[in-house]
Amino acid sequence: MVKVTVDGIDVDVPAGSNVLQACEAAGKEVPRFCYHERLSVAGNCRMCLVEIEKAPPKPFASCAYPVNDGMVVHTDTPMVRKARRSVMEFLLINHPLDCPICDQGGECDLQDQAVGYGGDQSRYLEPKRAVKDKNLGPLVKTVMTRCIQCTRCIRFSTEIAGVPELGATARGESMEVGTYVEKALSSELSGNLIDICPVGALTSKPYAFVARPWELKKTDSVDVLDAVGANIRVDSRGTEVLRVLPRLNEDVNEEWLADKSRFAVDGLRRRRLDTPWVRQNGKLVKADWQQAFDAIAAKAAGLAGDRIGAVAGDLADAESMLALKDLLASLGSANLDCRQDGAALDTSRRDFYSFNTSIAGIEEADAILLIGTNPRHEAPLINARIRKAILAGGVHVGAIGAKADLTYKPQWLGEGPDAIAALLAGTHPFADILKAAKKPMLILGQGALRREDGAAILAACWKLAAETGMLSADWHGFNVLHTAAARVGALDLGFASGKTLAQMLGGGVDLLWLLGADEFDTAKIGPNTFVVYQGHHGDAGAARADVILPGAAYTEKDATYVNTEGRVQRGQLAIYPPGEAREDWKIIRAFSGMIGKTLPYDTLAALRARLEQVNPVFTRVDMLPRFGCTDLTGPAGNPAAMRGDAFVPAVVNYYMTDAISRASPTMAECTAAAAPLAVAAE
């Protein structure tokens, strides 16, 4: 630590910090455009000027100047003020005064800092520079005349997203930011460019001219479109969600958000179920709640408990799943499943099915093995963490599965379980890398588990983890990467008992209750099975349903989700569900009352108390204690039973994985613009 004095305030900052960080530590605001904490230092905007004692009498760019012990910094001297005002005047020489029609207006760094540090008029009367706009695809809108050449976007795409597609062309006054030719960005993180752009050069295309930031109601929530559980802020106006932005959480998403989570929200306005429906004479007709409940009650009456089953979908929240589980128990049934893809998950121990290393823990690992997963598509934010760890250096990454461009280049060990067997046998050299590593970890994807030999693969991977030192008292390197936000919560609640989904299909049950379950082949449901679909979108499940109960999407309810790490997080209601739709747990509670099996909770608080009673992990909201692993006993399954066929990726089209993103016009455009990603050659 070195001691630095900023405007008379002494602060201790780590050696190697820059002056700007020291100023922030002292609570002094330093204006900046190009500097960003998570990107490399460019030092090109020259806005963060400060004065340093015992240095040449000129202002210094604080972001690019390292601290020295005993350094004395002034952030507010006449020289500094004048220099900043002049730099601001320079920036505004070419920046258009189109704030009234700019979507960045109201949340613009340039606007804010011009007020704080600029003058009130310009002395430069010459015509402003105009720059042709670039086509960056369906998500990011460009107005390049507004660009102030800070190069944050270039650095983000090169460093964080790992797609070096943006560059600065030409030089001097002619310098422009763009892709090589008109080319959509091939990144799943491109929406973050909008957030890091300090001006209105890069804005959201779907959100263009939709709203002003001060008109929006902001609700902190949690994303459910993958299993990462990114922290988000839902911006809504009236009855509509207009956009979703990331919220800072260093342990989960840092300050980034994947494109699907950000842009699929227009799917919340389309194909919604806003009233109950009941099938009569083969056709679904609109009904009211009473009629819908009556139809279900009539079917349920007299059914043996074993003939009733329930399936939870990928977006289901813990509260509604628990209510449904309790409802089925009251009907005498324990036929519950959440594994729509048939993944061979072992629920006997929590660390058999969660991402035990934790997302932030990836940065500690020194060897990473990806098995049957493409994290770039299954969890872009986790992929970004892996990339971050690689960029930090000293990490070996191996991968087993279909070759793909992951934005980094792993060592491809094989396409299927043979490679796992080779590692177990020690015949592949990567086994030595794993054994030599201090903190090795493996990430097992759903693509490896949703096969007939999934249990064998799970057991083999655990064995590999145990034998290569991934499991120790202070390190747990065995990780399952889920793709469904509901999955870990469902497993925590024991929503996987009795008959499996496969056994319920084909007439295995007479009454099948689908809680937002759309991700399996509904044609396999027996023709005489009575299907109740409770959910928010008219997707596959609703099409097969005999009764439709309109539920709430994730932005429309106070709900608990458990991400792939096992982190319990809560989303909040931002807007009310449309029409007759209701929060899901309340629907189930109402139905239970109607059939005389009233569930013992009337309030969310009571339900959450029950949640904690069923599994104490639900008491740890927003907290994720990390555990080592000393019990090396593996999951049931015979590692020798693995078959030879190659792993198939769990996510084929990143932009459409669930009922919300399938209903989203923006995601449809992204799908149209996307193309087979080039296979990264070794």
Partner: protein
Amino acid sequence: MQSVQAVPNARHPGAGRRMARDTPKGRQVTDAARQAVAALLAGRDRQRDLLIEHLHLIQDAHGRIPTDLLAALAEAMRLSFAEVFEVATFYAHFDVTDTDPPVEIRVCDSIACQMQGADALAAAIAAGTPARLQRVPCVGRCDLAPVAVVGQNTLDRATPDQVFAALAEGATQPVLPPSIDYDRYRLNGGYQTLARLRAGALTAEAVLQALDDARLAGKGGAGFPTGRKWRTVRDQPGTKLMAVNGDEGEPGTFKDRHYLETDPHRFLEGMLIAAEVVGAAEIYIYLRDEYPAARAILTAELAKLPADGPRIHLRRGAGAYVCGEESAMLESIEGKRGLPRHKPPFVFQVGLFGHPTLVNNVETLWWVRDIVERGPAWWRGHGRRDRTGLISFSVSGRVAHPGVKLAPAGISLRELIDEYCGGIAPGHTLRGYLPGGASGGILPATLADVALDFGTLEQYGSFIGSAAVVVFSQADDLRAVALNLMRFFRHESCGQCTPCRLGTEKAAALMDQPDWDWPLLQELSAVMRDASICGLGQAAPNPVLTLLRHFPEVVGA
């Protein structure tokens, strides 16, 4: 089921798959382009730092860089399209276009050529031939102004007829001046000092001591003590590299070209001595692309060197003045855009490819052998007005005999002109001069008797830099001179930092007005000087500020 709200103009979600194209997004590389690039790169390494070299291959073969070849090059070098595109468009000598014909004629735009009628020359050429003509910044032949370049053939004191003749004959190759080759250099005692150093007969410490005693200062423009620089690099841990700055872009400067084209081995021996003393594993010579003759000579002579020393790479610049800034030059050697780096860390700590790097100017190294062999006292024996050593002045403008003039440090302009240049050009009277090229400022005739050296001109808002002296007479419009220089800086600003990117542009625009807005120009200059990252932006206002200070009557202030 119904949608709560219809979204206008939205395609059905399922439309995505039908619309999908069967090729990946973006520009596709054609087979023809792929083969063309493969043929050019055959047998060559493809690592990233060779990007500029490879772009030269395309530019030389095609006279321009078609975008499909650029895409194929990106693919062949496993770089992203954007990276290749940004490098190609940064450098002036890469002409990225699919439609424009190749540039065949270049006419120097710089101040010395301007004074000798470059504008009229360019106009006459343009009127006489349809071949594409480009005005370019200083090509480093200011003593022979005006200069036109056909292909790589430089025509001195060019006339339109000379240009047309060269075009008609297809004379586009550089004409090599006579130079001392390897054998002759050895006959005259060359490479013996290097041999003694390598054999241990001469110690590195003795070399360093000689440099220290001679008080040799870097000849690139900053005047940093050479011995101190070598010691610092020598003391750094780990692998060390050396880079030679031959990117002599300062308008008015041509001394490095002179030495390279006359006695290249004296420079090479100095360079190898430096590498030996600091322990550099590899040497990169960065030579500006405007010097094809020097490049041809160096290429031939380097091939004659015995293979026992460090590996020597000769790298071509590509038309970027800013690459004369040492950290920008290192970026360029690494195959990137020439953006100056932030200091600290300094290049002697973290330089080329992250290694501690010794960066020296060509002329600095040229003097090493003489100082070691003749002793520091010989060097210090030169000098006037209490200054010591020798300075190679590149003299151009209104003097009778312009050229490279080796004169004692501390000489005054008047002495330099009278003793070395045959006096002022006939019919002219001295009015003012640039002591250090474009960035050194403009001084008046009343300051013709001050010592020209480091530390003597700063009090007048000026500096000697690379000793590029351009002499002006009553025939020259000093406002036009200042505007010419500012336009040069505007053209050469790398665009990285705000003060320089916008300041050079705005200053040039303000200076183009009939009445100069002095308060605004001064304030603008202050921001550029204080807040720019590198010397380019910091020094760019010097001509205008010195004009205001020394010639108030000229600018109506």
